[in-house]
């Protein structure tokens, strides 16, 4: 299915697939998938929108998700997008420093675009990924990144990924990890996010503060048909404070930035589970 989609996207305009999914696929998904209720409640309760607006944005949000998935495969098919970077200086300063740093992502917009655009010439970029990704997706990523200094660290049950993360950071490389979902560990920090308490993974904040490393949030949002915007923001914390306070302070910085970006682009929130349970 994935290979077939990539072959097709080499010849077909993405707009045709956008329209096809919006008319034929999304209505069926909304009819059968629990993501409908989850997205609707997100717009109603977290953004306070009315019923009709929330219903329309639920549809729009699902169409947007379909579009970023199509764009991802379009990238594998060799298509390119216009990308604007906000906060490039922040990224560049860290990329040129000898120390490693942590890049925190979230399931909004299309983060994978960042891997193709934000590259540090002198540093290897290591992306922590879920080992359960379809092999065809991983294979395409490997092909796309084979000529670059980007590598994937898959979360494994034997904890091998921890050694890879540690090694990468000790060598002054970049490690990118999602900071909005619990992956590989149930440890979490609970913080106010969009007006209610939500659980965020403890891992990314613990890993950054273990070595007192700098951290940035990188969020990638779709701003046009073939246009994306990468938003890079420094996440300040006092690395001389007691460890517990460092973790609390860094996680607050991250969630505050996530809330800022999600408030600007509310329809690009793609966490289809009960985030505020």
């Amino acid at each position: 299915m994935h290979q077939w989609l990539i072959r097709m996207l080499k010849h077909v305009d993405v707009r045709i697939l956008y329209a096809f999914t919006a008319i034929f696929i999304i209505p069926v998904c909304l009819a059968v998938n629990p993501s409908r209720g989850i997205a609707y409640r997100y717009f109603r309760k977290r953004h306070g929108y009315g019923r009709i607006k929330s219903a329309w944005l639920t549809y729009s949000n699902h169409c947007g998700f379909a579009q970023v998935v199509i764009d991802r495969f379009a990238m594998y098919a060799g298509k390119r997008f216009e990308v604007e970077v906000e906060g490039y200086d922040t990224f560049q300063a860290l990329a040129e420093s000898p120390d490693g740093f942590i890049q925190m992502s979230a399931h909004i917009g299309n983060y994978e675009i960042a891997g193709y655009t934000l590259r540090a010439e002198k540093k290897r970029f290591n992306a922590l990924v879920f080992a359960g990704e379809k092999e065809s997706v991983m294979e395409n990523r490997r092909k796309m990144f084979s000529s670059t200094n980007v590598s994937m660290i898959a979360i494994r049950s034997d904890m091998g990924h921890l050694f890879e993360i540690n090694e990468a950071l000790a060598k002054g490389e970049t490690v990118s990890m999602p900071a909005d979902r619990l992956l590989g560990s149930d440890k979490c920090v609970e913080l106010q996010f969009l007006g209610a308490t939500a659980k965020f993974p403890y891992g990314p904040f613990a890993i950054a503060t273990m070595r007192g490393l700098k951290a940035i949030a990188v969020n990638v949002v779709k701003t046009g048909l073939r246009r994306y915007k990468i938003i890079v923001t420094a996440l300040p914390y006092d690395s001389s404070a007691p460890r517990r306070e460092q973790i609390a302070s860094l996680s607050r910085s991250y969630v505050s930035e996530l809330q800022r970006v999600v408030s600007l682009y509310p329809t690009q929130w793609y966490n289809y589970f009960e985030f505020w349970k």
Partner: protein, 88 residues
Amino acid sequence: MEMNDIIEELKASIIEALNLEEMTPADIDASAPLFGDDGLGLDSIDALEIIVLLEKNYGIRLANAGEGKKIFTSVENIARYVCENRTK
């Protein structure tokens, strides 16, 4: 440094690094498993904390998961490894 001293030092470092403030070194059974429900109940992030702790405090850099699996069975086992491999 004696093996028993390293065990006590490790227990204190683990409590501090993992924020186990409700515990004292005496609460940790040196021979109990670190992971899983039978012992301390640590998880993967805690393992990474211990990897960094060994590097910072004893100059020990563990190379791979296989090595870690053999060592991270109990505080006693980690202490034995520290005795044999520490560089500081």
